[in-house]
Symmetry: C2
Subunit: 329 residues, 2 copies
Amino acid sequence: MQNTQVTLASYPEGFPAPANFAVVNSALPALAEGQVLVKTRYLSLDPYMRSQLAGRHISGSIQPGDVMLGEVVGEVVDSRAPEWHTGDIVRCMGGWQTFSVHHHSQLFPVTNIKKISHALSILGMPGLTAYAGLIWQAMPKPGDVIVIPAATGAVGATAGQLAKRAGCRVIGIVGSDEKVAYAIDTLGYDHCINRKREEVAATLDTLCPNGVDIYFDLVGGELLHTVSARLAVGARVILCGMIAETNSNERMAGPSPALWIKSRATVYGLVVYDFEPRREEFIDDCVDDVNAGKLIMREDITSGIENAPAAFCKLMRGENLGKVLVKMI
Amino acid sequence: MQNTQVTLASYPEGFPAPANFAVVNSALPALAEGQVLVKTRYLSLDPYMRSQLAGRHISGSIQPGDVMLGEVVGEVVDSRAPEWHTGDIVRCMGGWQTFSVHHHSQLFPVTNIKKISHALSILGMPGLTAYAGLIWQAMPKPGDVIVIPAATGAVGATAGQLAKRAGCRVIGIVGSDEKVAYAIDTLGYDHCINRKREEVAATLDTLCPNGVDIYFDLVGGELLHTVSARLAVGARVILCGMIAETNSNERMAGPSPALWIKSRATVYGLVVYDFEPRREEFIDDCVDDVNAGKLIMREDITSGIENAPAAFCKLMRGENLGKVLVKMI
C-alpha cells in the first residue's frame, strides 16, 4: 500500500505557489505495538499553516522536505492498540498525506457528529477558536455590536452565527460582493462591508454610531487600528490572527494603546490550543444546532491530495468560500 | 479677599515651560445658595494634565486664559449649604488657585486619613489608579513577576508596594540611580533598573527568565514593546498612561498583536474615573496601612501657588521624587 504525501519543496516568499510543494509517494511503515494506521478522509487547510512555513507558528515549523502538517478526519484501517478498531472514525494530526501512523493516544474519537467533516470545521478547531474567543473571552451580551473581519471564513462564519445566537448585532467585513451576500443571506449577519468597495472606517461610523462592543480580530493590520479607534467603552478585542501579515515577514505594529485606554478595552490574546481541555463543553453546546442545520459551515472542498497545494494557495489569496478541506479520492 | 490663580498663557510645544502659564489675582465671587468656599491646602499636579493642554485628555481640555484644572484638598471657609461647615476638610476639583467655589455636591469629605495630603496621593487618585489596575484588573497571585516603569512615581510607587503586599516579585524601571536606591531601599522593590544606564531588554531577560506576569504600563512607547516581547503565558498588561508621548503630539503605535497572542495576554485599558464608585472599598483596604506607615508615599512638595508652573514642568521632565503637590502658603 502506497502513501501519497505533500512535502514542502521550498520556503515561499510572500504568497505561496504550488511550486513550493512536492507530491511524493512512499511505502507505509509497519505498525509497532500501540500504533494505529489511519486512512485520511478529509484534510483541513488553515491560515495558521502559512506561519508554520515561516518558522514562527506556536505549533512548530516546517522545513523543506518535511510532510506538511495538518489535522485530518479519517478511518482506522489497522490497529495494534486495543483502544481503536478498524472502522473507527477519528480526528488526528495526520498531515498532508493519504495515510498516517499514530500512537493510540494521539487519536480523538469523532462521535455524535452527523457529517464527519464538521469535526474539522464548525465543530473542530475553527469552531472552537470562534467559541473560545466569543463566548469564553468576549462574553457577549444581547445587543452588543460585534465586528468580524474575514466574516465568511471558517472562524469568522462560526463567530458570526454564535454572536447572532447570543443576541448581538453582527457586522462582517469581507473582500467580495459574493461574500457579502453569503454573510447576510445565509449566515445571518445584520450587515456586511465589502472592504474593497466601501470605505470601512466611514461605513463603521454610520453603522455603529455608539461604537463597537466586540472586535473579533482575525486579520490584524490596518483594520485593527481602524476598529480600535471606534470601540465603545467597555469593548472587548479578541486577538486571534493576522492574515494581513501572514504572507509577510514583517511584524506590523499594533494600534496606539491610547485607543484601548480611551475605550477601557479588554484585549485578549487567543491561542485555541489553550482551550482543548474545554472542547467537549463547546461541542456539547453546539452539536445539536450543527446536526440540525441551525449552525452551518460552507465547506470549500477540493478532491485529491495532489490538489492540496493549489487549494492552500487559493486560501492564502482569500479566494476560498468557507472552510477549506481536501477530500481524499 | 483675593484669589490667586494660575492660568494657561499659551499652549506648550513639547515640554511645557513656566512661560506657558500666568499668575493672576482676582476677586472672589459671592457665594450663591448651595455653594461652598474652599481654601486650598494642597494642590495635586499630575502627568495627565499635560494631555489636557493638548486637548485630548478624557477629562477635558484647557484653553489659553483658563485656570488650570486640578484636584485639591482644602478647608471649607464659608458655606451656604447645610452639608458643609467651616473647618471641614474636603477633596474637590479646586484647580490651580488659592480659593475655589463649589456646589455642595462637588465636595468629598476627607476623613480617617491622618495626613490630609494623602487624600491626593496614596489614598487619592494615584493610589486608586494603582489599586484598580493591580488588584481589580491584573489580580496578582503570590510569586507573580511584575514590572513597573516610572516605579517611584505616585502610581508606580503605590503599585509596587501593593504588589509586594500581594506576594509578587517586583521589578521597577526608573531613570536615575537615586530613584533605583529609593525603589529598593524604601519602597521594597526586589530589583530596579536604571533605564539610562542599563540595557532594559537584556536586564529583564536576566531577571525574568520565565517572563513577566504583570506589566503595569505607565509610559507606553518603546518600553511597552520591550516588555510585551517578554511576557509569560497568561500575562496581564495594564495600559494606564503614556508618559513617553505625553509631551508629543504624535501617537505612537503599539506592540505587534502577535506578542500578545503568543503570551495569551489579557490587556486592560485603565481609566481611573471608572473606579470612583469603588474608592471607599480601596481606602478601606489601605487606610490603616497608610496611617501606620506600612504603605508610604514620598511627597515632592513645592510651596506657593505661584511656583506651581515650575513644579509641573519639573514633573514633566521626570525630575520629581514622589507625588508632586503644591502647598499653599
